[in-house]
Symmetry: C2
Subunit: 329 residues, 2 copies
């Protein structure tokens, strides 16, 4: 198995990306890692170490975090991200990972790797943290703004296959984000999507509400990118606001300062548990090849975790499984 | 000034509604209150007290909390809610208040009181709590699911007039709920609405994100009912989850129990601050008459507060002011 890693994408690139790749290469000797990026910088980071399953692929260019995605992917054909995508397209790699510009990675998926036959719109599927630490695979949380009912149906099938094949969840519960749990609730989009989801080859549990997501009311959450992103940011904002208010309360008297000293470890733990960016990579589903998005802030551990997920996805033939479900074979 | 009160609507009706009305009548002797509902029950609650500014209007019927709104309003013409609406329509009352079925109250507004000339869709505008206790007037949070850009424009104008006239905020900042603060962000709806809001006679501050609403990033928040409701429920759910997790942490050892004893009052205060249902009534804007929705759980204080708001709205000629702004006069 071969996995291409965009060594130049992300806040900590190339240093921590390369270090993460080295750890992954040591842990999984059966997996060949292709480090795509500035050859001399990567080699200096490898510091003379020769690992039999690590190869450097030189890429002279890099796509920056603020570049306009489509323009960047079209123009920077020799960027680390686009070259990694090309390796997947040309079957020289089974999967690619990147912690770089999310929009550019989506575009690389669309323009370089290409959509899977039968898929109208690929989707990024991050894990939303839940209190039980299992998380909810959510698509879409903001990659595509407007969605049609058919897109939500495809998200549901893809998410369900990923959750069962890669995460090993038997009959993953698929929920539709809505304003109430009753069947006829919602806007035109969710009403139409509901009918499609009921007929789909998935374990559809009906409408779910944003207030219950943190207690994992489903395994796969389906929503359009706008509503999903609003939900995500409302959660983030509320958690941050509560933690700030608590911090202020803790600082008010010497008694509360004592309480703070006792409670701080628990609070930090809780804050971390709810931090969306702490929770691994996200697959880009619906492409004719595998792409995993790692968080921009990915560190050594995050890169290694992403390789772990990528290996499973390759092993279980994720792309072929999704193709089979989508095309009803 | 005359205000009609649906004495039979809400979880605590008629008892606390009547008691709240009595306190309001004593506080504002210039305001005549028409208590609409079961005459004998209301009179027994008044317990022989004769207040010169309280009149009982008998209504033999009641619309229940779970009744289908349109059907209920059409069929129950002698319900307390519909009769109160008719008093507004026939100019026998300047405003009506109800803590009853929200959908039925919206329908009463549309079918009994009627829309204001030039308004396509009336909206319920509740106050979303913020950390500074001022709150954000938000429309729509779920009354109308799908919205067109023109609806959002009308929400913005109505919300802005309400905030400045009734709450006395000079140049209220109007924000559009979106997935980013940059101008070209969002879905088709918000992109089109953005352009309309820029041209509107309001203080439009651009796109705002759900994560900043709790720190009051605007005075009037504009969104479609689906996204608004998802945001509201994500906030509620997150706050509740954090508080539950804290409670659990507090119970874990004797040390944390000591910390809990110290922190509990602050926590309760914070929880209350964030409780959406604690924050007064919501006007139904865009009707040819005034309707205020009180929360289902309204108590004596909530009813009195709603009367206070209603008095101001009548005094500042809210309906006429909205009509003038909408029709550009």
């Amino acid at each position: 198995m071969r996995i291409a890693i965009d060594a130049m994408g992300g806040d900590n690139a190339p240093d921590l990306i390369v270090r993460g790749a080295v750890e992954a290469a040591q842990e999984w000797p059966d997996t060949e890692l292709l480090l795509v990026g500035d050859q001399s910088r990567i080699e200096s980071l490898l510091d003379g170490r020769k690992l039999p399953n690590v190869t450097v692929c030189h890429a002279p260019d890099v796509i920056g975090p603020d570049e306009e995605p489509v323009k960047a992917v079209r123009r920077k054909k020799d960027s680390s991200m686009v070259i990694a995508g090309r390796l997947v397209k040309e079957k020289q790699a089974d999967c690619m990972l990147s912690a770089g510009n999310t929009g550019a990675l989506m575009t690389t998926g669309l323009l370089v790797v290409g959509r899977l036959n039968g898929i109208e719109r690929p989707a990024l599927a991050p894990i939303l943290p839940t209190m039980d630490d299992v998380g909810v695979l959510s698509l879409d949380l903001g990659a595509n703004m407007d969605a049609k009912p058919e897109h939500l149906l495809q998200y549901a099938i893809m998410g369900s296959v990923y959750r069962s094949k890669v995460h090993g969840i038997d009959k993953p519960r698929v929920g539709l984000l809505n304003v109430g749990t009753e069947a006829r609730k919602g806007n035109e989009l969710t009403k139409a999507a509901y009918d499609l989801l009921e007929e789909a080859p998935i374990h559809f549990i009906g409408n779910v509400e944003a207030r219950d997501v943190l207690v994992r009311n489903c395994d796969v959450l389906i929503c359009d990118g706008f509503a999903g992103n609003v939900m995500l940011k409302a959660m983030e904002g509320t958690a941050n606001t509560v933690f700030s208010a608590l911090k202020e309360s803790f600082a008010s008297t010497w008694m509360t300062k004592v309480a703070a000293a006792i409670m701080m470890p628990k609070l930090r733990q809780l804050k971390k548990k709810m931090d969306y960016t702490e929770h691994g990579g996200a697959p880009l589903l619906g492409l004719d090849g595998l792409i995993m998005k790692c968080h921009g802030s990915s560190d050594v551990k995050a890169v290694k975790n992403a390789v772990r997920q990528a290996r499973i996805a390759v092993q279980v033939k994720l792309v072929q499984s999704i193709a089979a479900e989508i095309n009803g074979k």
